[in-house]
Amino acid sequence: MQESVVIFERVTKSYPTYTYITGGFKNFLIHLPKSLKGFRKRYTVLREISFQIAKGECVGFIGRNGVGKSTLLGLIAGVLKPDSGKIVVKGRVSPLLELGAGFHPDLTGRENIILNGVLLGMTKAEVKAKLDFIVEFSGLKDFIDQPIRTYSSGMVARLAFSVIAHLDPEILLIDEILAVGDVEFQKKSFQKILEFKEKGITIVLVSHSLDSIEKVCDRAIWLENGGIKMDGEAKEVVSAYLRS
């Protein structure tokens, strides 16, 4: 057994029911008594959840909408803080961003690689040192000095993937990325994820596509009602989930 790189110990995460948020100050003041009560009310998404992910493992989370799959990724990435419990994450975490997030359409491919690389945690010198490899890897050499608004969405995704691939992530977080793009692109990103896996990168995947979970992951965790309903081999968990 490899050492665990992600450890969750009795982690509870709740969200505030900030119903006044979209209404702003105006609604807050109009419904003052209700708003004040709402301040304290929170709903629990994950309740005392515990699991471990070993180095090099590829784990998929499945479950219905709103069951807390993306919250889990947020907790691993460290952008969300748990209410209680302990989270240990060892290694460089890289989230795979939605298509085009962290890119600017008016900048060239090359400029966007630097922007994206730095946003995802590299220094400028590190990105520049890898720039040629990233361009090579993306296969967009002829277009790299064009603004990326002229790119197709598949090309943008290739660029994003290439940056991620050179980040040397130790833990890769993927949230529904496989759902975007055309069939061709989905195949390609699939291929890339398998490559990451072969390199021994730990992958945590959240997806509604049970098919892709089954293909990519060794292990799947089924979330229901704030807890883990089932944890085991991907095929078994997916078929149990389908039967439910």
């Binding site: 100050f25 969300l80 997030a101 900048l107 730095v118 945690g121 010198a125 977080l173």
Partner: protein, 264 residues
Amino acid sequence: MLLNFHSFLQSKSYQYYFDLVSVLVAKELKVRYKNSILGYFWSLLNPLALAIIFYFAFKVIMRVPIENYSFFLLCGLFPWQWFANSVGSSPMVLLGNASLIKKVNFPTYIIPLASILNDAVHFLLTIPVILLFGFLFKVTPSPVYVWGIPCWFVAQFFLTYGLSLLFSSINLFFRDLERLVSLFLLLLFYLTPVFYDVSLVPKDYHRIIFLNPATGIIIGWRDLFMKGAFDVGLYFVYFFYSLGIFFVGFFIFRKLSPRFAEVL
């Protein structure tokens, strides 16, 4: 300045934070100046147009007794433009980067910082225009500029950044703050001696005018550019006032920042 964020700089190097800010500022500047210098004219156009309007309204029609009024206006409008643009756009700056904040664990206070530094660069680029106007009005550049400009720049930076941190973080929780901020800026504009001189304000109202943190800064810039003067007392009062506002904004931002990803 980054020393103030020492608590944030636990695991990563200063180099990385420097790169992050420079890349974000460079992004905005590149987009603005891409393939043309037209972007530069946009940062001039707004204050110049305002100057013409105020000149017409207050010099031609109302006949305010201020000499070199057009130069007087520009000395106040250019720095005001930096302040108002940065603070005015601050409520939306975190919302605009929601996809990053929700996924990547990086210091979010960098986002408003990059936005105001971007406006600051535009302001610095307009200083030659102020000097040119000064030349037309036979004002020779003074050696005081060498340290006067950085001093007032720093004071205005802290004021602008403090308010930006405050508004950008609170707006995530109360999404209509943006409207209140634009109202606030309009109000503040009239409470700031940009198009009038403090000497024209009745004594009873001086307290309100000087309570406005932007007042000292605008007076400071104008004295600097028009007379080559630097009032050390005025400077320290408004520098520490701005620094105080910065710390208030910074602590509220820090208090709220762990919740950003929850509400975006």
